[in-house]
């Protein structure tokens, strides 16, 4: 069975190489390395996921254009982990995609997933196949926590790396922001029952309590339900001074709309799962106005040093990038640097050599030098905070202009 599958994938890969390789003429002799990409590109988070995908694809095509890896052509293999039944990312589909990547020998590394719930399903499979994955967006701390090594590192070596920091910083730093900058005294905390949302809300809640914010309650939303008015009425009746939500767009859009109706005047916050065009277009203005959204990376799209890159992205995809398009691009840079390191030392890149090179290297990227600790987490830990502020000069779904950067969240 395994042998047959291997043979099938080999034939498929050879056929693919033949088809793609031929038109390029001179490149026909190049060997192909496939970089897997797994993102929820049709789900409730599609617009955000597509920006991440475009960031990664731009990295791959720029590398091919500049022949960044001499003798090799990089090819993306894009897989979708959103399903119609879930309406958003689906961990079961993510696991299937992980198997697909592992079973294709030409896949030496991968970018994604966007969602921690998917990552939790993928990483054990990737670890057994020794396939490295770099996430530009999944922030749940369990994935790289040595306490869960048996689950997420059964191969014994880290295969899951991040070009963003984790919710172990995103949640608490945002709680610091609510306590120190917004001077909030009481709060109600909600999550969307996903792995990411629950973990983020837990981390936020713990630090909020430590900061002296009174946590008036905690509840869990069903992302497929439509009506959140009863819980929001409860939040209002308790006199909460603020609301925090851990979760992604599917529940988030409905929460934003109904919160605007029921508790319009209190500060409301959420994590990077809500830093997405889907929230802006789904909730619309004025409902989305004023939400504080954190991101687990430094804020980059306003950086003047990156204007050339942003121009390239815009002309290629006809839309503005967001910060996670950049962290995805950075992930590709890390992979390319690792492959080059292996090639330069005279080796043939394979999964283990690429993995080892990623784990040990420091790579200059758009967000600065990226290196990883022994668990696979990025060593920089900046959490940036945005306030959704309507700028009518730009389209509603333009994250670069509708999320206004208001500063980095205070570190604990």
């Amino acid at each position: 069975m395994l042998k047959r599958r291997f043979l099938a994938s080999l034939i498929a890969a050879t056929a693919l190489t033949a088809v793609v390789g031929l038109p390029h003429g001179a490149q026909a002799a190049d060997k192909t390395i496939i970089i897997g990409i797994n993102l929820p590109i049709t789900g409730g988070d599609a617009a955000g996921a597509k920006r991440i995908m475009n960031g990664a694809l731009l990295g791959i095509s720029m590398a091919n254009d500049s022949k960044a890896v001499p003798g090799y052509t990089l090819k993306p293999m894009v897989l979708n982990d959103a399903t119609p039944t879930a309406g958003q990312y689906d961990p079961a589909q993510a696991a299937t995609n992980a198997r697909k990547m592992v079973s294709n020998e030409k896949v030496l590394a991968a970018i994604g997933p966007e969602m921690s719930g998917s990552a939790k399903a993928m990483v054990p499979i990737l670890s057994e196949g020794n396939l490295t994955m770099i996430t530009p967006a999944a922030t749940n701390p369990d994935l790289t926590n040595p306490q869960f090594a048996a689950q997420y590192m059964p191969g014994g070596k880290p295969v899951f790396f991040r070009t963003v920091t984790t919710d172990a910083f995103q949640g608490p730093n945002m709680a610091n922001y609510f306590a120190e900058t917004l001077k909030v005294k009481s709060i109600y905390v909600l999550d969307d029952s996903g792995a990411y949302g629950v973990g983020l809300a837990d981390a936020f809640q713990k630090q909020a309590a430590a900061q002296g914010i009174k946590v008036l309650g905690r509840d869990r939303l069903d992302p497929t339900a439509a009506d959140y008015s009863s819980i929001l009425t409860k939040v209002k009746s308790l006199g909460a001074e603020a609301l925090y939500f851990g979760g992604v767009a599917q529940a988030g859009v409905k929460l934003v709309k109904q919160a605007y109706d029921i508790v319009p005047n209190i500060p409301k916050g959420a994590g990077d799962g809500m830093y997405s065009p889907d929230v802006l277009t789904g909730a619309g203005f004025p409902a989305a106005e004023g939400w504080y959204i954190s991101n687990a990376s430094p804020h980059l799209t306003d950086d003047t040093k990156l204007s050339q890159w942003i121009g390239d992205y815009q002309s290629k995809f006809n839309e503005s990038p967001d910060d996670y398009a950049i962290t995805a691009f950075d992930g590709v840079q890390v992979i390319i640097a690792a492959i080059n390191k292996v090639v330069a030392s005279g080796g043939t890149p394979d999964r283990e050599s690429v993995r080892a090179a990623i784990a040990s290297g420091t790579v200059p990227t758009l967000q600065g030098a990226v290196s990883f600790d022994k668990n696979g987490d990025i060593t920089q830990r900046i959490v940036s905070v945005f306030r959704i502020t309507h700028d009518p000069k730009f389209p509603d779904g333009d994250p670069q202009h509708q999320f206004k950067f208001v500063g980095n969240a205070p570190q604990s």
Binding site: T42, G43, G44, D45, A46, A47, A82, P84, G87, Q88, S193, D219, R220, L221, D222, T224, A225, A226, D227, Y228, S229, S230, I231, T233, K234, K236, S237, A249, Q250, V253, K254, K257, Q258, D261, D278, T281, G282, A283, G284, F285, P286, A287
Partner: protein, 312 residues
Amino acid sequence: MTPFDLLLQQLINGLSLGAMYALLALGFTIVYGILELINFSHFNVFMVGSFIAMGVLHLFGIEGQSVLLHGLPLVGVLLVVLVVTMIACGFLGVIIERFALRPLRGVKGPMAMITTIGVSYILSNVVLLTQGANEKNYPNPIPHWSFYIGGINGARITVFQILIWVISTLLMGGLFWFVQRSRLGKAMRATAQDPDAALMMGVEVNRVIMTAFFMGSALAGAAGLIFSLYYNFTSFGIGFSAGLRAFTAAVLGGIGNIPGAMVGGIIIGLIESLAGQYIAVKWADVIIFSILVLVLICRPAGLFGRLAPTKS
């Protein structure tokens, strides 16, 4: 807010929710009453209705929540959208019946029910593939009028909530009158009691069944429009969670029984809303379905008794 205001507010929220579940539950109940068929495609006829209405609203130039209408234009636009959506959904129901279900009518067993699940998936995937999966910001021309009972800190009722109650009551009342009083309604009841005898008495059974599908689906279309205007959003996935609760409402009230579906819908809406306040939202589904199980154990025919074809 005093505890009393709070209770009142949750009752208002729950009644609005319940009215929508009731409209949707009626479609299950009418079809079941006549064919003894659980029609799962109803879930997504509701969803398609919400998209059809969105298209019509876009034709009127209404985008997002920034274009607000008042007075006669508002009433006119809403009426046109409601009527177009109901007729379009009604025909969708008739098409589903004619092409997917009638060929299976004589077949014993769960084939027809499974076909309706298939149709349901086809509808949701067609919308997913043509409209995308992201949640749509729903065009809504209704201004945010609302008033408070007992001062600014009291319970708040929006005019749209009252509109929901009025429209639902009118539609449900109209249906009830139609089934009880009109000729076709009598034929429907006769078919429900005994299809073979009705056929022998000269009732056009095919026409009766088509009417049932048309009316049930038209009500689902109305529910889809009201739902989306109330929550200001729609997506290809709204059918399943709302549909499942509406189906539960129909069973709770006694599937096949029209007043039962209305009461069942209101009960489910109130439970969902009160559970969110006094227990926790995360337990709402557990409570709803536990009550369903309890009712069915104590009264297997539902609260109001089942109305279904007599099998001889």
